[in-house]
Amino acid sequence: MPEFRETTLSNGLRVAAEIDSRGYSAALGYFVQAGSRNETDQQSGLSHFLEHMMFKGTEKRSAADVSRELDELGGQGNAYTTEEQTVYYATVLPKFQDKLVDLLTDMLSPALSNEEFEVERKVILEEIAKYEDQPPFGAFERSMEVHYGPRGLGRRVLGTAESIRAMTASKMREYFSTMYRPDNMVLAATGNIDFDGLVNQVEKLTISWNSRPDVSSVGFQPDDPQTLPDGIALDHHLYVPDLHQSYLVRIGDGPSESSSDRYASRVLASILGDEGGSRMFWDLIDTGRAEVATVWPHEFTDCGAWFTYLVCSPDDLIANRKQIESIFNDVALHGVTDDELNQTINKASAGIIMQSERPSNRLFGLGSRWLTNQEHLSTDDRLNRIRSVTVDDVSSAAKTYFDGGHFNEIVVSSEEK
């Protein structure tokens, strides 16, 4: 069984690890509580832009050094940004642990040079353009904007082309100094990890992190809630020419990371929307009426959302939506069956076991949970929670979330509205 260990360094940085000394690999990641929900209008897209800039050099290393060294470690490394977190991670052979820690830790003291900032701005604008071309053409971002409002949780992670064009390197430096403080971060590690070595090394490497200038007193320009941020619209219909399918995203309230019904909600999602054997699958996918018809809960720290996603021929959109509604009404009214529950628990348990086999898969749950809730769930804890979900739990979650309630819907199609 993997062993869980954790500590807090003298500068406030928390370190959490799930150690399995038989593992073939070691996964490490810095988890920073900085996401789009922390940004103001003027900072829109900064968490993600900053994530890119961490690969662009430090005082000790050029951008090319960072990329080269990551590759020299043979690591599978990358980073991502969400509404609530920015995460930098890599998986390497255990013999490279020290070198990886040295590199990742140094990367988190970025040079943020003006030249690199200008080159990377172009890459971010390309990334925004890339997603504009990809199904479902920004429908998920739009649904969050409409549901939560265009600020806070509804703020899009990439920012808008307008906010990125207006961004300055000095705004980025301020944001960095405010958010990348050791007490706002977690270093997580899974797999074949030398924990004591890790803690000693990071203690030394991050000793100066607390002396970063605290600019939070500067105060960022507050947003005017009466206006829309640049580049944001709130229409529920998105027109895209020449589409062959139509796309529907529905968002309603759901469980948060600490809600007691979040495991029941996951089981409910599986019964309703899993690909290959759920109620929506049999009615809509197996019959060829839709290409995608699914539903899932997305947990944030203090609230949550249920997303419904439908992709089908434009002619079938209304009928399919009606069918999905009747599936939701039925489960809210009649709940789920023993057979459905058992089948789902068996499938989910196997999924947890398989997923836990690779240290890199375990890293994200560990780091993210430790950052927001200071909570660790071992593989067996998660198995126990899923296995203890009852028919009543699931039926009651269905009543909570699918018995009427407020939701928003975004439709993407080639039909002019």
Binding site: A64, S67, E126, K130, E132, Q134, V292, V311, I353, M354
Partner: protein, 406 residues
């Protein structure tokens, strides 16, 4: 049927991968999509189980499953807790040998295929790469694995049955098993479940017939999506790793040339990649870059320039980084039964024999920079197939090269 078993006793899981010689290359010309539709139909009930029974049993066994068709094979695979393996093998033996092929579900399966075709049309990257494959491998080997609207619409129940009866048999089929399993037991389970499966001769493969050229698809998209390809040697060729190392230096990792020189230094795009794809008789290097229209020509020119000039400044450190990367990947593959089972099956299909992780590691380790350089000098990339999708047509760098020489 070839049976390959690799015990990985340190895992809690096991996985299998079945490959049957029923790929798109043996579809009748006018019935594009028949192999995919048949692959879907065999899973709609088999032996004494209905379609819904099959899913319930698979879920209760905890199987994470996949299926699909490629140029030459139909594939079925799953990973699961090791204790489910025996039943899972028995179940899939029923699926590929005794499917019901229920006529009353043919329309549903057909609709499913059409959904997929329509969805792919909304995906610019997919459209570009599919058009490119067709240009590269020609109309037979390059046909889309999910078929065409015309082909799918024409398929009848007897087409499905005929395809199944002609191509679902043990001849040249493979089952690869990896994970926490005793090999003697695993062979026995396969023998018991597949031992009676008839073995027929397999249709010879066609030669590829693609040609160089440039095709543009007009679209008012935000980016211009650029695909390019050229002919190369397949996996299994004695020089393969010399070629592959060059592609690795170009495109594997953050310090690779395309990522560094096209994206990081110039900010021309977010995505730029090149990778190798092998059939038994042919192969290609396939690349993609997406960028806003005003920078598309420059992106295409710079990308192809980097590929053509790979050998100008090759250095030892680049090769070493790539070798370390592959070594790490191979070691980490020991953590996943699914990944190992699928490599075993595809290696065997491509090479005609399994290759152990150690053999592969030493082949990679033994490569020298001179070998890579000599191979690339002797076989310079050329005769590109290029496809773009976006507001404006680009000029084909190969044409401008020709005219400047003239």
């Amino acid at each position: 049927m070839t049976v390959l078993v690799q015990p990985m006793p340190w895992l809690r899981t096991a996985a299998f991968s079945i490959a049957i010689r029923a790929g798109v290359d043996v579809e009748p010309r006018d019935l594009g999509g028949l192999s995919g539709l048949t692959c879907e139909m065999v899973q709609r009930g088999a032996g004494k189980h209905s379609s819904r029974d099959l899913v319930a049993i698979q879920d209760n066994l905890g199987m994470d499953r996949s299926s699909g068709v490629s140029v030459s094979t139909s594939n079925f695979g799953a990973s699961m807790p090791a204790e489910s393996l025996k039943e899972a093998i028995e179940l899939y033996a029923q699926i590929v040998q005794n499917p019901h092929l229920p006529e009353d579900q043919l329309e549903d399966a057909r609709m499913m295929s059409l959904q997929e075709i329509r969805a792919n049309r909304d995906e610019p990257t997919h459209r570009v790469m599919q058009t490119l494959r067709q240009m590269h491998y020609g109309p037979v080997l390059g046909r889309p694995s999910n078929g065409t609207e015309e082909g799918i619409s024409k398929i009848t129940q007897s087409d499905v049955r005929e395809f199944f009866e002609s191509h679902y048999h043990a001849g040249e089929s493979i089952i690869a098993i990896a994970g926490n399993v005793d090999s003697t037991l695993a062979y026995q389970w396969v023998e018991d479940s597949f031992g009676q499966w008839q073995s027929n001769p397999v249709t010879d493969q066609e030669a590829a017939s693609g040609e160089g050229g440039y095709e543009h698809i007009h679209s008012d998209s935000s980016q211009t999506h650029i695909g390019f390809a050229y002919r190369t040697i397949p996996y299994g060729h004695p020089d393969y790793f010399r070629m592959r190392a060059g592609i690795g230096i170009l495109s594997d990792g953050m310090s690779s040339r395309l990522f560094d020189r096209v994206r990081e230094q110039q900010g021309l795009c977010y995505t730029v990649t090149a990778s190798c794809h092998s059939l038994k008789q042919d192969a290609g290097v396939f690349g993609y870059a997406g960028t806003t229209p005003e920078r598309a020509q420059q992106t295409l020119d710079v990308t192809l320039h980097e590929i053509s000039h790979l050998v100008d400044d090759l250095n030892e450190a680049e090769l070493r980084r790539w070798q370390t990367r592959i070594q790490s990947l191979l070691i980490m593959e020991q953590e996943s039964s699914a990944s190992r089972a699928s490599s075993l099956a595809s290696d065997y299909y491509q090479l005609g024999h399994p290759i152990s992780t150690e053999e592969l590691e030493s082949a990679i380790e033994a490569l020298t920079l001179d070998q890579v350089r000599e191979y690339w000098k002797a076989h310079p990339p050329g005769d590109y197939r290029i496809v773009t999708l976006g507001p404006d047509r680009l000029s084909n760098p190969q044409d401008s090269h020709t005219s400047s020489v003239n």
